[in-house]
């Protein structure tokens, strides 16, 4: 789910955009093993 309607329109939009940007950031990162990207913190764990 890209977003969270319980946040209200503005925060929901910001949250959804953050998730999409996090996913696009993941596409730009070289990985060689299963890797977890947290869209909220932008933490990366492999």
């Amino acid at each position: 789910m890209v977003g969270d309607p319980s946040l209200g329109p503005d925060k929901d939009h910001a949250y959804g955009l953050q998730i999409v940007r996090g996913a696009l950031r993941a596409l730009q990162m070289p990985v060689d093993a299963p890797t977890l990207f947290d869209p909220l913190t932008m933490d990366v764990r492999s």
Partner: protein
């Protein structure tokens, strides 16, 4: 004859007859006696056991309020003092499977033997099969009776403290446990027998099953996002409003291609969500939650990405066998590669 075993059963809101996804937030509660499939379970137990109580809980409630749900389970264990706990069967349902496994694990931790039932492809199996007894079932409730029959048989043995044999004999999924024992024939004779059967194209079962692990080579990182073509795919069950393509809500064997070249976002007037694994109303009101076209258009407009691929891919990702998922994934991947797409965002639910 021994006294009948006291059996505590666990079912979700659907099998308790409360409702489907719209009732998935139903709080955990304890009911007297058998509920839903528990009545068939009671018949199958016969003189061996009595379903004294049932814990009922909505699938979403269990996932979101797990401690609260498990507190109700612990209360039921205290109130009913069962000899054995039976959960499910959950078949292929992921959230229900995890709930069944957690309840079985909780009972076991409290000193009460337990049996869960679910399909071998249920996501809960790799998470829990080494720690609890899980009886393998078919993928759907069509296999309810054989599933409950096997679960009841194993539950009676566990409840009576009888020795439990190998997985293949008892009907539970392998737990990765090895025990010393004796075979009627030495290993070299069994191996030759297997070889002969293999050479004659006859069925045989290896004593050392091989389960290859999927290995996927990661794609290289995108070096120029601002020049990249990005595609979108979703397993959230995106459909055209009215479902003219007749996409199923589960056990999907085909995916949908939708042309979004002229769309700035997905409007609920034109699109909807149809997925058996979650409450669809929110995504139905705003389909961009399951396929974020509006967001990538926003980023396309400010040149954060090069362009959005004109075709999006959609299916309901629930209950589809792994082999089918792999086939569809390969087909989508081949199409994206042929179209020169640089990266794809896949939204799961």
């Amino acid at each position: 004859m021994s006294r009948p075993l006291r059996v505590l059963h666990y079912v979700n809101q659907f099998f308790a007859g409360i409702g489907g996804e719209d009732k998935a937030n139903h709080p955990a509660e304890i009911r007297d006696g058998a509920v839903g499939p528990g009545r068939l379970l009671a018949n199958l137990l016969g003189d061996e056991g009595i379903v004294v109580g049932t814990v009922v809980c909505g699938d979403n409630f269990f996932q979101e309020q797990q401690e609260q749900a498990l507190a109700v389970v612990r209360q039921a264990l205290t109130d009913w003092t069962p000899d054995v706990v039976i959960t499910g069967p959950a078949f292929i349902s992921g959230r229900y499977g995890i709930a069944c496994a957690e309840v079985a694990r909780t009972a076991q931790e409290a000193g009460v033997p337990s049996v869960a039932g679910m399909n071998a492809e249920n996501p809960a199996v790799p998470m829990y099969s080494q720690n609890i007894y899980i009886v393998g079932t078919g993928p759907s409730p069509a296999s309810m009776e054989p599933a409950l029959t096997a679960m009841a048989r194993l539950a009676v043995k566990l409840g009576r403290g009888e020795e439990i044999g190998p997985a293949a004999d008892e009907g539970y999924l392998p737990r990765g446990e090895r025990r010393l024992g004796y075979r009627a024939q030495p290993g070299y004779l069994r191996a030759v027998d297997m070889l002969v059967r293999k050479l004659r194209d006859q069925p045989f079962a290896s004593e050392v099953p091989y389960q290859p692990v999927d290995k996927v080579t990661p794609a290289p990182a995108l070096s120029n996002l601002a020049g990249a073509t990005i595609a979108l795919a979703t397993t959230g069950g995106l459909i055209r409003r009215g479902n003219p393509d007749h996409q199923p809500a589960s056990n999907t064997r085909s995916f949908l291609r939708i042309d979004v070249a002229d769309l700035a976002e997905l409007s609920p007037k034109d699109f909807d969500a149809y997925h058996a694994g979650y409450y669809n109303a929110i995504a139905g009101d705003n389909p961009n939650y399951i396929l974020p076209l509006s967001y990538v258009r926003e980023l396309e407009a400010v040149d954060e990405i090069g362009s959005v691929h004109s075709t999006v891919y959609a299916l309901a990702g629930v209950s589809t066998p792994v082999a089918e998922s792999r086939r569809m994934g390969a087909e989508i991947g081949a199409e994206l590669a042929a179209a020169g797409v640089d990266g794809c965002l896949l939204v799961a639910t």
